[in-house]
Symmetry: C2
Subunit: 443 residues, 2 copies
């Protein structure tokens, strides 16, 4: 195995699941491993503690008169369940047919480490970089970058830069260099519906009290029409319509509705009528149940009325929806649709605005040239994405700079799901991309 892959495997072996308290030490150990790696390639690195997980910052020796570029990524990962659906252990990476499998391979360890190793290669070759580089790698991206904004505020002078580059987005297809100019935002809520003071025998009491699981189902069912449109009053009021050029450009991409159906394995696609799959994912808002539970889940049957039932929901937002306004509308809808006989509690989670930048700016064009160098032969696809990277709006707000999104994730990378993966080929292209990017941005 190459030393680069060995580094990646070491990085992947940390179970740095930021969302699960039991992994706090793993997250911390991962941050320190990263700090040591950054030091080893010749950068000055610091692991900054926060009230949550540490933030790792590294920089090269100052290049007078040079531009300053920040590369941002994260070393935390999503939880691994359902564990039994993994073909190999999530934190014991494995290469099968040229593809690396493991939690974080794509999102984001594989991608951010490609940048780090690219920088290492350049330093080894020339002893220096053509510009001032800041690497900012956090450990709370999967939980809404809770402490990063405060960190940026406190360190805004040291973190001043001209532009930021992020590899945490996708490629439209294998080998197709992809520049992402928009991301969806997010609003998360958790619901608890409760009724009796304890689980009840469904024979002894069934029929005379509201069942919290049924009430929760009614609430969730009220979110969408049967065609999949969201029924929350005012939810679509501020949604920016798709531009004609975007629809035309996206229609030419090698990712059709049939491909999306095949990638997901669904019996048929489903969603708002009048849009292609890509349009729905990249430019339309959603309301999704991420988890639901209540009552008896074991083998066999247990004839109870559960005392409570829960659901975790996230809403993906698009320009120009305001997360605060949307969360208010969600609350209003849930309260007015809550069935009789139960109590509803709503706990707000993290939220973030959608992001959009101009793909035709100078930095945008430089990034696209770097992408063509890293993936020779392909035209650069200009896309938006359905996921959320809330921090890019914070970068704009606090540091006043735009973010270039040059991701390396493939459509079948299974980020956030079992069997997450990243081709060795993309990892190597990422190292080349970093090299080309630093050169293009230096000019």
């Amino acid at each position: 195995m190459s030393p680069h892959l060995e580094d990646l495997f070491s990085f992947l072996r940390f179970a740095s699941v930021s969302t699960e308290p039991q992994h706090k030490t793993d997250v911390e150990r991962c941050a320190h491993w990263l700090g040591q790696k950054l030091t080893a390639i010749g950068l000055t690195a610091q692991v900054h503690p926060t009230d949550g997980h540490p933030i790792v910052v590294a920089r090269n020796q100052h290049v007078p008169g040079g531009r300053t570029v920040m590369i941002y990524g994260h070393y935390d990962v999503q939880p691994v369940d359902p564990l039994n659906e993994w073909a190999s252990a999530p934190f014991e990476p494995e290469i099968r047919d040229g593809v690396i499998y493991g939690r974080g391979t794509t999102d984001n360890k594989g991608q951010i480490l490609a940048h780090v190793l690219g920088v290492g290669e350049a330093m080894k070759e020339k002893g220096e970089l053509p510009l001032n580089l800041i690497l900012l790698i956090e450990g709370e991206e999967e939980i809404g970058s809770k402490h990063l904004e405060e960190f940026l505020q406190t360190h805004r002078e040291e973190l001043k830069c001209d532009v930021i580059a992020v590899s945490d987005t996708g490629m439209v297809a294998k080998g197709v260099p992809t520049f992402t100019y928009g991301l969806r935002g997010l609003a998360a809520v958790e619901l608890r519906v409760s009724g009796p003071s304890s689980d009840l025998h469904s024979g002894i009491y069934g029929g005379t009290i509201a069942n919290p699981a049924t009430a929760l189902a009614k609430l969730l069912a009220s979110l969408h029409t049967k065609d999949g449109n969201i029924q929350i009053e005012g939810f679509y009021a501020d949604v920016a319509p798709l531009e004609k050029w975007e629809r035309d450009a996206w229609a030419t991409l090698p990712l059709k509705d049939a491909d999306v159906a095949a990638l997901t394995g669904v019996p048929e696609l489903f969603g708002e009528k009048g849009y292609t799959a890509l349009e729905r994912i990249w430019a339309r808002p959603t309301a999704e149940v991420n988890g639901i539970w209540g009552g008896f889940q074991g083998a066999g049957s247990k004839t109870v009325i559960p005392r409570e039932a829960f659901a975790k929901l996230t809403f993906r937002l698009v320009p120009n929806q305001n997360p605060k306004d949307i969360v208010q509308k969600i609350h209003a809808h849930l309260k007015s649709h809550c069935p009789a006989g139960v109590k509803l509690e709503i706990h707000d989670g993290h939220s973030a605005e959608a992001y959009a930048t101009d793909p035709h700016s100078n930095f945008g064009k430089a990034a696209q040239r770097a992408l063509k160098t890293a993936f020779p032969g392909g035209e650069v696809a200009l896309i938006r994405e359905g996921g959320s990277i809330p921090i890019v709006n914070t970068f704009r707000k606090v540091l006043g700079v735009e973010t270039l999104l040059l991701g390396l994730a493939l459509p079948d990378c299974r980020a956030h799901a079992p069997n997450e993966n990243f081709p060795v080929e993309n990892f190597e292209a990422g190292i080349r991309l970093n090299h080309a990017l630093l050169n293009e941005l230096a000019e």
Copy 2:
């Protein structure tokens, strides 16, 4: 502690959860303990293996010319979760303020053991019983008495009897002797709604495929109107209306709507309009979600679209609904209401007809006299019950006899729920009841 209570505690310590495969040995050990106890009091006992859990049968020495009475009960219990809601360990019984706490205290170990010990007392006193007694105690009541019908068929000659008595029902209030002349039936189904071949990132795919948890919620929401009436076509078609004398009698019972609300701890009662709480529980059918699950249930958030979501449902049935017919109607409803973009699987569980017997028969009157002796000073309440004891219909079908239901469970016994309990006083009354019952039925 009295020897009777010591026996009960030994009986309760077996984790004889019939529904959970990991407790198979506990169920078996419990059956053998019971067999030994029955032998020790002077009966001839046998533990019959089945393809499921054993059936324990005991009888006295034949009394020529005497009537034959069978007493039926079960030694299996419900699962214990949610475990963290128990004030004391479910299988380490404990007496607090004269009340025994533990799984099975009421349902049904406490009640059936009272009969066993009552028989033991009578044998000790007189050396014999006034009639022929058969004790039939099974280990699969909580999973639909799967192997009992076959056992009755195979042993129908040995099990011939004139009447059957069961203590697995409730008392309308503390100290009020209660004779139950009707029970609800049951139909169980489990639903699996599936879509993508794996959990998906809700950013990368959200908006373009159906969410199985949302689809399941829509299915469950379709079962009831917002007033709690069941919307399955034809569901109420065969429901026997309440008789005027029943409504009048029930209206005088010391268990009012406010009592039911207090017992359950709900913010308000909920259900079909035009009926009291007791009428809804005892004489109207239901559709209840016993459990629901899908996607991420851990701490924090995980932005996935779950690949599948599940629900366990049971429907309580009343005279004259036919379980087979109802199950067909449930299937038809679910299939026709299944949202687009997902796959629905329905797995049928056990089912049972409702039961009704004549409270004014000779045996019925004898049972009521025994109840008055065991609980002196009270008028016997004539009620139905909301729970199901499927085997009573099988007794009628296979053995051709009626079943007398003389239960000792109190409204706050928490059967099937955490902190199940049984007052020491009711346990002792049960021993007296057995004595009176055998005398009354012998005459």
